[in-house]
Every structure is written in C-alpha cells, then in structure tokens.
Amino acid sequence: MHLKVKYTPVLVNRPEKVRDFLVDMLGFSFCQQTTLVDGQEGIIVGENDTAESCFLLLKGTEAQKTCPSPIIINTEDCLRDCHDLQNRGINIIKKPEYTDLGLTAEIADTDGNRYTLLEERIYSENL
C-alpha cells in the first residue's frame, strides 16, 4: 500500500478570509469550493491544481476552534519571505528561529489564524 497526504483539513473561523490571505498574501494560486459527504462546505487551497497536497479549509465549531493549530507552509527562504511579508503589513508573531527541522517563523492573519513558515534544512550534508 502506498498512501499519500492529499488534503490537510484546517479548522478556521472564516474559511473565506483564510483563503483570501493564502491567495492574496502568500501567493497560493489554486482554490476551489467543495462539499464534503456530510454536506459541509470547504475550500481547497494549494499551489496549483496538480499540487501533491492542499489545505482543506473548514469552518470549525467553537469547541474545535479553542486551540487552533498553525498552518505549516514550506518556504525556500524564510528570512526573505518574513521580510517581504512584514513589508506588506503582515504581523510576524514569532521571529525567525532555528529548530531541528530548519528555520521557522510564525505569522498571523487579521482573523487570528496562525501560519508557520518552515524552511526545511537537511543538516547531515556538510558540503
């Protein structure tokens, strides 16, 4: 069996606002309205229509939204992107920080949703 992650569900207050933030501010170009089997409406957002994995933005219930997780987004250059986003008025809530996975920073949209920018780095290769 060979399974792959395709849609990562993200529970948010207002899916449309998050979609606008991802598309207008972070440059994601693909989005599509969808309806799930239980009739719940969702929005798929990704890099393009053939992206290997996409976000599925869902409106969460109050109980589900009490402790929302950050949406993790990969970047090629965390310092550059933080700098660009800051210049566009986006709040950097955690400055770039070095972790075992790479360089990360956290930003937030006006709705309070948090986004972690992650520049993954492979430290085992020295040359």
Partner: protein, 295 residues
Amino acid sequence: MKTLKILQNHNKLYSETASDVFYPQQSGDFSMRLVFNGNESYNLGSRNLNVYPGSFLVVNEGTRYSRRIDSHLPANTFSLFFNKGFLQNFHQSLTHSDASLLDNPFISQEGDDPRFLETLYPLAGDLKFNLMHLKSHFDAGMDNEMLLNEYMHHSLLLYYKIYNREVIDKSNSLGFLNKQTKVEILKRLSVAKDYILSNFSDQITLEDLSRQACLSVNHLLRTFKQAFGCSPHQYLMRVRLMQAKFLLKNTDYPVNEIVDLIGFECSSSFIRLFKNTYQLTPRTFRNSEKGTLLN
C-alpha cells in the same frame, strides 16, 4: 571579476572570481571569509592559512594580512565585512540586559569591542544555509539593504554559536585548572588544526604539527584529543574525506585524480576508508549525488 557592495551602515559584501591574484598588506573591519570553489591563501603574521569550501576564516578588525588566489581553475570567494559599530551593537545586544540597553542604547562601553580567535571554522548547518542564500541574493544584484543586513545579523548570531561550540566549549573540555592555560593551549591546538585544514593534501607528520603548535608531540596528542575528540591523524583523515566528498559531488575529476588532490598515496586505501566511513564507494556516492543511481 570582483563585486563590492557597501551598505549605508558601512557593512560590506565582496565577491571575487579569480585564478591568479595577490593582495599584500590588507587590513579592515571584522570579516568572515568563504570560498565556494577552489581555495584562497591567507598570510596572518607567521601563519599561512588556506580556505577551502567547507570552512571559513575569521579576521578581526585591524589585523594585517595578505591574501592570494593561485589556482588553475578560477576560485570563487565571498567575504562579509562587519562595520565596527554594527558588531559592537550586536555584541552589546547579546551581552547586556534589556534594561541597561534601554538606559544607554548608543554608548559603547569598554570591553564591548569583541575580538575572536582568528582560525578556520567549520562552515555547516544554519550558517551555511544562510550564507548560501545571501550569496545568491548578492550575485543576483539584490538592492534591499534591510534584508542584506538581516542576513548579516543572522550570520553573526550563528557565528557566535559556532564560536561558543568551537572555542569556549573546547577550551572548557581541556583538562587544566587554570583558565589562561586552557585558552593558550586551545590557541596552539587551533594552529595545529588550521595547519591540517590548510595542508591536508601534503604529507603531514606529527613533528610538523608539534612544531607549528609549539607543543611537544605527546602534549599535542593528549590535548588535541581532549579538544577535538579525535587524534590529529583521525582529524586529517576526516578533512581529506570531506574534501573528497566535495570534489566527487562538485567536479568531474576522476577518482584517481581526487586521490592525489586530497593527499592519499594510493587509491585502494582511499576507497577502503571511504567505504568504511560512508558505506558507499566513491563512485556510488558520486552517482547518487548526481541522481543517476538506479533504484
């Protein structure tokens, strides 16, 4: 080809690609010197240091040096120069409390002029990633000074971490009670380590190292292991293997030629050591790095 960028705060970035140049009697701000291809030789007082990819040299403000590139293939170098005020300010922000910085944000105090051990440091981890980004933005002609300064700030931050690991922790690991003795021994050991890093392609003897470091052979053997966790011979083998990996990955030189370039006397002992260390033959490593390995 030379490119120099002087930022408004007088930090500087300098890149050069050359085969045969010599610059005598140089001096300037605190700097970090890197080589992305080939090598560059520095003369600092009585020491000759060769900077290869995989390590970088730190030169303090005001140190006199000469440098030379003498290579049949063009060497590509990159240097970061930190203005004295920028460095002092950074140092203060790390060593002073927030309250004292608020009370006295612009006045430098005695002892805030940091001096570092002028030695070769490993270029790896986050510093390497950040400097690769910085070099690529610099080569692309980026004009955003705030972002360039942000990279320089992070480079200093990561250099301080490396300094703590390579100098402070290593001197603490030496089995002497007196702090001054520890510092002096580490300085001498760094001379020996730099000699290995600069001359790995030559046949280096323990007597050479002992003479360079001004330590007896036995003293050198004992303290080198305390500081670097391996014998000078093991360190030399490690450096040669790392350079071999770099050449296998970044050039098309035949394995036999690489064996000569890194100072091994015969191919079979090199291949055996490489395989024992990385569980791959040099050829398999090269193929896997170039993405041609099947399966």
